[in-house]
Structure formats: C-alpha cells, structure tokens
C-alpha cells in the first residue's frame, strides 16, 4: 500500500482526520492559544464562537439577577460555568426572537445580538462566591452571635421535625422546648385542630408555620406553596408588600381582581407618560423595555414623559421630565382627570358601553362600569353599591337577573339592565352635572358622576400645589395625553404607588387609560402574552399539579398571619363584636383584603401574636435585616423592630433560613439550610406585559449544584429540605404516590420536570398563518442531537419523572430554555398595521372598573373608615388618618427622602458579584445643587440624616445631582451592606473574615418613618402603610441632615 494509492489513501485520510478531530475535541476548551485574530470581524459567527468549541456545553436557562427573568445562555466547560449571555429564543434578549422551530444547532450560530445586562453577566460570581454555605449550619449560642456549627442533613431534618431542647447550650435557653413540624402536624390531626378554638375560621394550628420569601418565582414559589398547603398552612407568603403591592392592588382592583400589571405596547404607542417607573434602569423587563423605548423614541414614533422626583437615565430621550413632589402624583393625575372630563376629551363611545355584549356590537374590545348607577343615599344600607335590577324594580327579587347592574339607557332615557342597554348615559341629569337621578325612589349617580365629583373636589391650583408643579403642566399633559387616540398610555410603578395613598393614585392612572379607551389596542395598555400553563390546569394536561392524593382538612384554610387577602368583615371576630353591640374597630393590627405578601404584617403578626402565635418561621432567599420593611431594618442596629422581633425566642421559637451565604438576616437564624443559586435550580417564568407574545422561560440548573449532597445523593437545597421534612411527617403530595397521575416526589426534579411537560403539551399558543392566528398544540418531539441531549442529562438521573413520550417533548422545551410564541403572533392579523392585541383583557368579559363597589363596603380596620371607590387624592396619612404634615413639621424636617434603582445593582444579592461592585462600589446621598449650595455642602462632604422615628440617623457621603428635585434627598438601592460577604463569623470554632471592602455606604431605610398609630406600648411599630393595599410607604419620610466630619470608605478598587 503506497501513499499514492488514491482509494486507500482517501479512506485512511478520512479515518485519521475523524480520529484526530475526536481526540482534539477533548482539548478544545484549553485552546486559548489559538489566535484571537480569527474572530471574524463584525460577527460572532462560526467557526470561532465559544458556543461552537468542542467540549463547551451551551445550556439555556433564565436569569434571576433581577425580576426581568431574561432568558440566558450559559457556556459550561468541564462542568464549570464560563460565560453568560442571552437566549436568542427569548423575546427579552433578542428582538425579534429566533423562530421557536429553529434548531438548537442553528441557534448557536445566530448573528443577532442576544444580550444579558451587566447584572446578568456577573451572575456567575454568585455561583462561585467563596463565602457560600454548602452544609447545614446550626447556631451555637444566642441568635445573632454569628457562631455556627456544621451538622449533618439527617440531624437537621430530625431536629426541625421533632423539635426538642435544641439550644440547651445557649444561655437562657437551657430549658426551652422548641416545637418542631411534628408538634404542629400532630400526626395528621394538625389541619383539623383550630388554632383558636373560639374562632375556627382563623384556621388550624398548622397555620403557625409561616413560610415567607424574598425572591422565589413561579415554579419554585409553587413548590414552596405545595409544601405549606400539604402541611395545612395558609402562610406561604411572597414579598410583594415591600415591593410594589399598591401598584398591583390598584391594577387588579381596576380590572378583574387578578391581573396585576399592564404595560404599554411600545412598538405602536405614540405617547406614554411614565409615573415613577425607572425606564432604562429597572422595570419589566429592564433591557427589553429600554430597548423598545430607545428604538421607538429614536425613530420618532414615540414621545414619552417621565414623572419622577429623580432623573432616570431615560430622561435623555424624554420629551418632558416632570419632577413631581413625592406623594403628589395624584395631584397631577386627578387634575388631568378633571381637565379631560371638563374638556370632553374622553372617549364617550367607549365609556358609555355598559356590557360585554354591547361592546361586541360597538366594535369595542372592552367596556366599563362608568354608566352603571351607584346608590347615593346615606340612609340606604346599600349606599355606595351598584343599584341592582331588583332594587330598581326592573325584575323580581327572585329573578336570575336580579343582581344585574342598571344604567339609564341613552336611547330610551329610562332605567335598564346594563346587559340589555347598548349605550348607557354618563350624565343622566345634564352635562357635567353631579345631581343624582332617582330610580324607583332611590337616589343614584353614575360611576362617572362619582368620579367627576371626586376630581372636581379640588381646584387646579390646589392640585398643582399638591403635585409641586405648575398648573399649566396639568393642562398640557391632559391635552397631549388625549391627542393620540388610543395610542397613548399612562403607566406607573413604585414611584407613585409606594406611598400611603398609593392605591388611590394607581387607580387614577388606570382611570386615565380608561378615559381614552386604550386597553387591548395596539399602541395602548396591554396585558401581554399569556404564558403556557405549567401547573397543568388545562384539559388534557399531563399533570394537574394543583391537586394531589390525600385527605382534606376539616377546617377552612383560615387567615394568614399578615391578615392579607382576608375581609375582616367576614370573620367571626367581626361578627362577634357586632353581635355583642361593640364597635368592631379598631382591630389590634390592620386587615388587608386586597393586598398580599405583606412582610411588615408578617412581622407585626409575629410580634403581636395576632391573630395567632407563630411557632416556626421559615425564610427563603430573603434578607429583611438589610432590605425591608422600611424603617424596621436596614442598618446594623438591634433596636430596630425587625431585629427585636427576630431575637425574641418566645415570639419566634424556631427560625429557619434557606440561603446561599450568611447574610445580614441569616446571621440570626437557628438553622441555615444551604440552598442552590438560580444557576443551579429550577423555575417557570412567564413573560411580562411588555412582550405581546406568549412567553415562558424554563430555568434549569446549568451546572451540577455546588452544595453538598444529602445521604440520598440529592443536592442540598430548600426543595430537598422540604421534601425530606414532608417525608418524615408523611405529608400528602410528597414521597410515594405524590401525584394524581401516579409517581413519587422524592427529588425536586420529580416535580419540576412535570411542569416542563405541562408546558410542552400546552395547546393554546398561537402562530400566524397567513391572515389567521391558529393554535399550534403541543411542541414536536425533539429531533436533533442537541435537542435530545438537553433532556438526556436529566433523563439519565430522573427518568421516572416522565413517560418516554413526555420526555421527547420536554426535551424540545428544555433545549430552548422555555416555550415562546413567535414574534408575529402578538397582534391580530388581517390589518395593514397592527390594531388589536392577540391577548386581551376583554376576553374575560369583565368591566374596566371606573368604580370599585367592593372598596365602598370595606373598612380601614383601625378607623372604620370606608375606602373610596374611585380614583382619589388624599394626603399622606398615618394609618389612623392623621395627615403626616401635621406630625412632621416641614420646617424641622425639610427634605423628603427618596430612593431609586441603578442598572448595575439590584436587590441584596448582586452585592456578591464583584464585577458589579467594582463598577459602582459606593452609594451616595444625592441632593440638588441648589439645596447643597444653600446649606454650604459640596460633593464628598459627609452628612448625618435623621427622621422623627430614627433620631440617631445614618451617615453617608454626599453627591450633588441636578436630577434630584429640590427639597428631596435620594439614594440608590443596594448599598449599605454590613454582612454580605463581609463581617465575621465562626464555624466549628474557626473564625472567618469577610471582605471589609464590601462594607460601604449608604442605606437610609432605617430612617424611613414608622407609624405611631401602628406602634405598640413597647415602642414596637411598623412603617407607614397604605390602608387599602397594605403596601409599605418608602417615599414620604421627612428628614433633616447636617454636615459631619468626613469618614473614610475602603471601597473595592479596581
């Protein structure tokens, strides 16, 4: 055989080349000596992309460095996470996103940018943080002493389940018996044993287990709730109350009670007013909304206005920036509403449509209750409620239509059931007249009359003063807003919402949108795409994860410790008082029928042991000692209310924390459960309304978790902790026979993979085919090598979680990091330009609520005052109604304290990412130069800032910022840590020192005002709270400040 023998030569060449390349495959990862010059300029493209290097695994998942939940692309080599970028299938990161049917092999070569912000890219530092906790820790000594011992997993499970003299070596706890989960579960009788025998409607003793979280998102939050529900506790509580709760309540209570957020259809909008929404820095999703706004404003199709006392980065493109007085947004909004009504610039044809059927006939996508009649008679027991057809004498009381609302029909001029009228009158007694109309002897106004009466209760000059802006601004914005048909939007977020008047202000913003009838229209205010249902509540779903085999308790689920989502008026406590002839108000702590996730009330309920004592507090991925609630924490000061509560072992007998490191809060835990980071765990993340198409990202571990293994071989995590406690107790829904469809739940993947299967089989995603939208049914089976690989790494370990057929479809979804409708499915096709959204609130057939009748019969449970049913301005008040202006003298406290978010940092957890810390290591107190000049202050000076309830104050460096409104001092979120990869602690007698460079200023949350009407005789109190929604007030605190000698800051330097 010679080298010149062509046939043999060619065959040997092929064999040898393939063999050489295969051998090279294992070496490619250490290939950096290949010249970088071969990165082809202008593209990332093949063949030099690291995604295409042999040995590099590319896995799609979802970020969690903020709540935008962008899809991510993780590059993993030899099990080590090397780089994070965006997922080209995910609409957050790529526009337009890759068609979902694109093979994964092709997705690795796509040239379009698929981005992840700086926070997202830095996330790998969270995984490899050298201060991570990998083993269970149990405290040694008192809470907060920072002394720990490692214990085994079985010991952890046994102790928290069985309880006992768990801390007998801690001074003062020698004889303290700590109840464990078994003491509440009572071998299954716990859910049937009332926590208060006299008030069984409060629920069972198992409600004394309270689980709350900071960051846990759909999928994982559902898992946590499954445990709580199976255990018999209603207390699986998110963090919304210290986040944006009032925004959500305002939105929900203006719509169907469920939809918590709308967003502008930026691609088609002409004009948007953003109230307190930090566009470019934050909001949802941060990079997506920023990209859309930047593009639309750059090409001239969008003008936008920012209403904010601070100056977001987006101000550079804004048409106008209104520097509103904090808490005064409702002055601008109600003034606009008044102006729009008086000038008749509202869309009459939309507002006067009284029912879904009438809307269909009129070509409207929605309808409102603006024309519905409201009882306006203080002697009538139903005052404030909608007049019913029976009360109007239109039908007998027993008629099925007896409860129908009533309008004055525009055609006949007579009272008519709303469902029978095509057009209802807005002004039955004359244009702009609030004079009631009498129906069947009952004085009534339309909801629209009530709204106008409210709006007209203050002059424009008063509104301007409230808002701290010129009167002309009110008129100009009202005119501009109503000059774009339906292609204008008023949107908002925490800025106007997180005040004591936040819900009412938010209702005003929703009302502005209703006045122009923009809901569901292209360019208007939209619900966004509907995500695939991962819980399997749809017909034919592989797994209905909301149900599981097991007995139901005999008691109602009861009332959460925070008294959220509960009408006090419906409880036995209320009935008992009324029956006894006593005033049912005030209650010991407020009740919040519309709000949820109210941390400050979780802690207040725990402190006050109202409505029942807490026995076990489990905190997951949260850091209340540093983060929130305002005024109750935020500084290393154990006199603050949160610390007082958590150190009290009588009020919090057992405090378990799942965390990834020893933070400011987990330092106080009794036990720390080592948890996995977001790059090592699961989640199912729907998209946000900014994206018109159906979106659900699947978060899956991109690397093997770094936490230690349990004896059963699972990675330690909060899920495995709950599974093992559940199995020790014998809870239904865990262990063997955990699912209706069969199968066990012994590892978290047994659950999460079923969610992926539900997503894969979801039938209702749309695709555009010609001029039609068609439903596309389940995904295809995985067909390419990379698609199959995506599931094989799970199937090899957790094969029993799904059937073989289900694996083939789940693989398709896992390989792409989720399931996403294509870009062109967001609008109803058929028109030359988009006019209607595919997903519409109107499909629910429920009204846009100008008037919320439930508000009118719900009380502030401290004062007994009923809530106002329409948009409304009221001053910042304490919970007992006292105006704050009468409590904190502006001469003594001349500045309003504000805060905002930067795009580099987010929440507590990004402090673990040193790339981000290097970029912005210090936060400053920011002040307008005019104020600084007046006070003789300069950049770099140090000041002490204090409030009425925190006189000792907080110190920090100052920076002058023209973007801050005069009279306001502001600071950025995320700074002021003292024990996040910093501080000192001992484990097993060994002392560990964190990084002192990570203790930098400034955080002023401790200065935020506590509410004296919510403070007890021991001086323990909570922040100011919106009584309607329950959201915390962050932006109404008045402060004073003085110059102090400068202090040094040893910040992380590059």
């Amino acid at each position: 055989m010679s080298w010149n023998d062509t046939e043999v030569s060619r065959r040997m060449f092929v064999v040898g080349s393939v063999g050489a390349a295969s051998a090279l495959a294992t070496l490619w990862g250490s290939w950096p000596w290949l010249p970088g010059m071969f990165h082809r300029r202008g593209t990332y493209v093949y063949p030099m992309r690291t995604e295409l290097w042999k040995g590099v695994d590319v896995r799609y998942s979802v970020c969690r460095q903020c709540r935008s939940d962008c899809g991510l692309e993780a590059r993993v080599y030899n099990g080590v996470l090397m780089k994070l970028d965006g997922n080209p299938y995910h609409p957050n990161t790529t526009e337009p996103q890759l068609p979902y049917a694109t093979s994964v092999e092709e997705s690795l070569k796509v040239a379009a940018p698929h981005s992840l912000c700086a926070r997202g890219q830095a996330g790998r530092q969270t995984v490899y943080d050298r201060y991570r906790v990998f083993f269970p820790l149990k405290r040694v000594g008192p809470r907060g002493a920072g002394q720990w011992q490692t214990i085994g997993w079985e010991q952890l499970i046994r102790e928290v389940t069985e309880g006992g003299m768990l801390f007998k070596n801690a001074p003062g706890e020698e004889n303290r018996y700590v109840e464990g989960f078994a003491d509440l579960w009572r071998q299954g009788n716990g859910p049937n044993t009332p926590v208060d025998p006299k008030h069984s409607d409060l629920g069972p003793v198992t409600n004394q287990f309270v689980l709350f979280w900071g960051r846990s998102e759909p999928g994982q939050a559902t898992f946590l709730t499954r445990f709580a529900t199976a255990f018999g506790s209603i207390n699986a509580l998110p963090h919304v109350g210290i986040c944006e709760l009032n925004h959500h309540v305002a939105t929900m209570q203006s719509l169907d009670g469920k939809i918590a957020m709308l967003k502008p259809d930026v691609a088609n909008a002409e004009y948007v007013i953003w109230f307190g929404a930090n566009i470019y820095n934050a909001n949802f999703p941060m990079q997506t909304l920023a990209r859309k706004v930047a593009e639309a404003s750059a090409d001239g199709s969008l003008q936008f206005v920012l209403v904010d006392p601070n100056t977001p980065n987006s101000a550079g493109r804004a048409q106008r920036h209104v520097k509103i007085q904090p808490g005064g947004d409702a002055g601008l909004i109600m003034g606009m509403i008044r102006r729009i009504i008086e000038q008749h610039r509202y869309r009459t044809t939309f507002l006067s449509v009284p029912s879904y059927e009438a809307a269909q006939k009129a070509g409207e996508l929605d309808y409102t209750n603006a024309s519905w009649l409201v009882i306006h008679d203080s002697k009538n027991p139903d005052e404030g409620q909608f007049l019913t057809a029976a009360a109007a004498g239109l039908v007998p009381v027993a008629d099925p239509a007896a409860a129908d609302p009533v309008v004055i029909d525009a055609g006949s001029g007579k009272p008519m059931r709303a469902t029978q009228s095509v057009v209802g009158q807005l002004w039955p007694t004359g244009n702009l007249s609030n004079r009631p109309v009498t129906v069947n002897g009952i004085a009534c106004q339309t909801a629209f009359q009530v709204l106008y009466e409210e709006a007209a209760s203050h002059s424009y000059a008063e509104y301007a003063q409230i808002a701290g802006i010129p009167e002309s601004t009110i008129h100009e914005l009202a005119t501009e807003f109503t000059s774009h048909g339906r292609k204008a939007v008023a949107d908002f977020y925490r800025g106007p919402a997180m005040h004591t008047n936040g819900v009412y202000t938010g209702r005003g913003i929703l009302t502005l949108n209703f006045l122009i009838g923009n809901i569901d229209w292209a360019g208007g205010y939209i619900t966004g795409g509907k995500a695939a249902d991962f819980m399997g509540a749809y017909p034919g779903a592989p797994y209905d994860l909301g149900k599981w085999p097991g007995p139901k308790g005999s008691l109602p689920a009861g009332v959460p410790i925070s008294r959220e989502k509960s009408f006090y008026e419906k409880t036995s406590l209320y009935q008992e008082a009324v029956t006894a002839g006593k005033d049912p108000f005030p209650t010991k702590r407020p009740w919040y029928p519309f709000g949820y996730g109210i941390w400050h009330e979780i802690f207040a309920g725990t402190w006050n042991q109202y409505p029942y004592p807490v026995k076990i507090l489990l905190q997951h991925e949260a850091n209340p000692a540093w983060s929130a609630p305002p005024g109750m924490s935020g500084a290393p000061d154990e006199s603050l209310p949160w610390f007082r509560m958590i150190k009290d072992v009588q009020k919090v007998p057992l405090y378990i924390v799942s965390d990834i490191l020893i933070s400011e809060s987990s330092r106080y835990a009794d036990y720390i459960v080592p948890d996995t980071t977001y790059l090592e765990t699961w989640g199912m993340l729907p998209g946000f309304p900014t994206t018109p198409t159906g979106t659900i990202g699947v978060r899956q571990p991109v690397i093997e978790p770094l936490t230690a293994k349990t004896p059963s071989g699972a990675a330690m995590s909060v899920e495995q902790f709950l599974i093992d406690v559940a199995r020790a107790l014998g809870l239904p829904g865990f262990g063997q026979n955990a699912f209706q469809e069969g199968g066990s739940l012994t590892r978290r993947e047994d659950y999460y993979l079923k969610m992926v299967a539900n997503i894969a089989y979801y039938p209702d995603y749309h695709a555009k085919r010609g001029s039609q939208l068609v439903k596309i049914g389940p995904v295809p089976d995985a067909a390419t090598p990379l698609e199959r690989n995506a599931a094989e790494r799970w199937q090899s370990q957790y094969g029993s979680a799904l059937s073989p057929d289900q694996w083939r479809k789940a693989a398709y979804v896992l390989a792409r990091g989720g399931r996403f409708e294509d870009y062109d499915a967001g609008y109803v096709p058929g028109a030359l330009v988009p006019t209607q959204m595919t997903y519409q609130y109107g499909q629910a057939k429920l009204p846009c609520q100008i008037y919320n009748a439930t508000f009118a019969k719900t009380h502030n449970t401290l004062t007994g005052e009923r809530f106002t049913p329409v948009a409304h301005w009221e001053p910042i008040r304490l919970f007992d109604g006292t105006p704050l202006a009468t409590v904190d003298d502006p001469r003594k406290y001349p500045f309003l304290l504000s805060t905002y978010k930067q795009p580099i940092h987010s929440k507590a957890r990004t402090w673990a990412d040193k790339w981000l810390v290097e970029l912005m290591p210090v936060g400053y107190l920011e002040m307008n130069p005019l104020d600084a000049q007046r006070l003789g202050l300069r950049d770099g000076d140090w000041v002490r800032v204090w409030s009425a309830t925190y006189p000792k104050g907080v110190k920090g460096p100052l920076r002058t910022m023209p973007g801050v409104r005069p009279g306001v001092v502001s600071f950025p979120q995320s700074y002021g840590h003292w024990h996040y990869d910093a501080g000192q602690w001992t484990i097993n007698g060994n002392t560990y020192q964190g990084d002192p460079h990570l203790v930098t200023p400034v955080r002023l949350n401790a200065c935020m005002r506590l509410d004296p009407s919510l403070t007890d005789a021991e001086g323990w109190g909570t922040c100011m709270i919106d009584p309607v929604g329950g959201g915390a007030d962050y932006y109404s605190t008045r402060v004073q400040l003085e110059k102090i000698p400068a202090e040094s800051v040893h910040a992380l330097q590059v």
Binding site: W3, M12, F13, G16, A20, A21, S22, F38
Partner: protein, 218 residues
Amino acid sequence: MGNSAENSELTASVADVLWLFAALFDGPPPAPLWVALRETVWPHLRQAVDAPSTALELPAWDADRLGVEYDQWLAIPVAGQGALGYPPERVVEQGNEDSVEAMARLADLLGVEWEKPSFRPGSAFPVRPDHLTVLWGLWAILLTMPGTDQLGERRVEDWSQTVWSLIHATLTRLQEILPAETAYAAITRIALAYGVEAAAWQEMGDMDEMDEMGSHSE
C-alpha cells in the same frame, strides 16, 4: 458523496486539523496540551497520511524545548533581534508578491483580521497576510464553504487552491531550513503531508459535487 450530515462532520474534522496547524505555527502550545497532542492526536494524523509507523514521529521534547525551537526558528523577530533576521515563514515573499495582496483581499472577504493588534513574545506577529498561521486559518474557513460558491471575484475552490499552494511553498521551504531533528521540522513534515491529502480530498469532493450538480440538471 454520502449523506450531507456525514460530509458536514467530516469537513468539520478536517477543518479542525487545519486549525491545529494554524495554532501550532502561531506558537508553541501549553505543556499539558503538547503532551496530549503527541499522545492522542498525532497517531491519528499519521494514520490520515498513511505514514509507516516509524515515520513522522514527533520527538518527545518537552514544551519548554518546543518553545525555544519556535523562538529560534519561527518567531518573527522584533527589529534588530533574532538569529536569522528575516523569518523563514516569510519565504513566500520571495518572488510571490501578488500573494500578499490576494491574501489580504481574501482575509477581508472572510472578515479575518490577519494582523494582530500587538506583539506577544512566544507567539507569531503577522505583519503580512500571507503569514503561515493566517494561511492555515483561511483554508480552514474556506473548507467549510461550498467550493462552487462565489466569494468576491473568485470562487471558493479557487481561493482554496491559492491558499494551499502558498502553504505548500512555505512548508517546502521550511523543510529545507529547519534542522531535521527539531520538533517543528517533524510538525512541518506532517503538516505538509496532511495538506497534500486534504487538498486532494477537497478536490475530489468538489468534483463529486459538480457531478451531482450535473446529474440534477439532466
């Protein structure tokens, strides 16, 4: 010519080997990689060129010695330094000035920046686009494109032939210059042998493709 998935995989394999040579002529590999190359990759390369078992062996130099060889014989010296003064890799310049312009044009079409932004000791610093490292890389990229495709003013197969002829000329000249016992002489010998086979394979592949095209048009 077999099914397209197999062809694609084979083409990728051959391109990988060309990249290996691009890297080797750019600079010596790190020590662990060098050991792995000698032990796991080299036997396959010798198989690919159907070499007798005793031929084309790599001497068992350690990586340090390899680095010394590279610096002495192949690195483009910084002005005023180096024994040769004129790096042998640039032998292609001799009597072949058009090649510089052609390769610059090809690199531009492919989006390859042939000139590195800065010099790093121990690594090549191409100042002309017909540097050996660049040529191997250009060939690896061209290999994965259909030969009949138009790339600028010429077809891919034409560009490939030009690149290969330049590589061939350079390697032939290098064989004359490098002492036979050096590792880089051994690398040059196998690179030349592999290049001959790869060029022949590529030409056969293009002929098959043209045959297919011809049959489809019947």
